[in-house]
Symmetry: C2
Subunit: 192 residues, 2 copies
C-alpha cells in the first residue's frame, strides 16, 4: 500500500477496521488531487462521480440562488466532501466545489468503490458509517438554522467550529449561516 495514504487510512480505521485486502483494493482506487486557492475541484452542472476527502487545506461547496453565491458546506482536513444528491441519484449537480486555500484532496471514484462493496463488506460498512455521521451532522445543522437568530447561529459556529471563523472569509460564513454579510458584520460589532 502506498506510503502516502498512511494517515488517511489510520483515520478511516478509527471509524471501521479494514482487512488487508480491503485496504489494498481501496488504496488502489485512491488518487491525489492538488489544487491552488480558488481553483475548482468540481464545476456546477457536472454529475458527481467521485468521493473526495480533504487531506490538507480547506474547500467549500457552493451554489447560486438568484445570482448570489451561497456556501452550503465547509470541508477541512479529513472531511468528506461530496454532493450527495448528485452522487447518489446520478443527476447533474447544481453545486460546485472550490478551494479556499491550496488544498490536497484524496479522490475515490464512486462506481469502482461501490463495486468493491460486493466483495468487501467492511468497506461498505465504513462507507455506511461515514454517511451516518454526515447525516447526523446535517440534522444538527438544520436544528441550528431552523429556529435561531442570526446572532445565535454565529455564536454557535464560533463555539463548535472556531477554525471556520479563523480560516474562512466572512462573506462565505454569512451565506453558510443563511444571513447577509451586512447582518453578520453588524452582529460581530455588537459582540466586540
Amino acid at each position: 500500500m502506498d506510503k502516502f495514504l498512511d494517515s488517511f487510512f489510520s483515520y478511516l480505521e478509527d471509524i471501521q477496521n479494514l482487512s488487508n485486502p480491503s485496504k489494498e483494493k481501496l488504496s488502489n482506487l485512491c488518487s491525489r488531487v492538488r489544487l491552488n486557492k480558488n481553483e475548482r475541484l468540481q464545476e456546477i452542472g457536472r454529475t458527481c462521480k467521485t468521493i473526495y476527502f480533504v487531506e490538507e487545506g480547506a474547500a467549500r461547496i457552493f451554489y447560486y440562488k438568484d445570482g448570489i453565491e451561497i456556501t452550503e458546506y465547509f470541508a477541512f482536513e479529513k472531511d468528506l466532501i461530496i454532493r450527495a444528491e448528485s452522487l447518489f441519484y446520478n443527476q447533474p449537480s447544481k453545486k460546485g466545489i472550490t478551494c479556499m486555500e491550496d488544498t490536497n484532496f484524496i479522490a475515490i471514484p464512486s462506481q469502482p468503490l461501490f463495486e468493491l462493496f460486493n466483495q468487501h463488506h467492511d468497506l461498505e460498512r465504513l462507507f455506511r458509517k461515514l454517511i451516518q455521521n454526515a447525516y447526523v451532522e446535517t440534522v444538527r445543522r438544520i436544528e441550528m438554522i431552523q429556529f435561531h437568530t442570526a446572532e445565535e447561529r454565529y455564536l454557535s459556529l464560533l463555539q463548535n467550529n472556531p477554525q471556520v471563523i479563523q480560516k474562512v472569509p466572512l462573506k462565505f460564513i454569512a451565506s453558510y449561516l443563511g444571513i447577509t454579510q451586512v447582518s453578520l458584520s453588524r452582529i460581530r460589532s455588537t459582540l466586540a
Copy 2:
C-alpha cells in the same frame, strides 16, 4: 414470514433486493406498535434504540427550544423515523416522537439489526441506502431553509409535499419551516 409485513417488505425490496434468509431474519425482528392520535412513541430524554417506519398514519419528531415546541420532521406512510443523533451515538435524545393521527409503526430494535449486518450483507446495504436517502433529503431541507424567505419555504413545501399541508395542523408546519404561526397565517392570507 408473517403475512402482515408483505407490503412493507415489498417497499424495502424496491430499495434493495434481499435474500430469503435475510428477509426471514429481519421479519423476526419486526414488530408492530399501534398508537392513538397524540400518543407518544418516544419520550424526550430516552436513548433511541429502535428504528421505526410508519406503516399507516402520521407522526412527527419534536423538541423544545426556550419552552416552545418545534417540529423537526414529519413522517407519513413508509417513512423512516429515527432520531439519528441518539441512535448512532447512543446518547439520550432531546427529541420526542408523537402521533398526529392514529398510527401504526413497524419497530426494529437497532442492536439486533446491527448484529444481523455481520451475517447478512444485503441488510446492511439496504440500511446504507435508507440512510443515504435520508441524508439527501436533509441536505435538500437545509437548502430550502438556508436562504429562502418564509413565503418561499411555504410555497416549496406546498409544491413538494402537498400532503403535509393537507394533513398537518398549521402550528406544526410553521415551526417546521422555522417561522411563527402568525407569520405563516399572514403569508397564507396574501396568497389567497
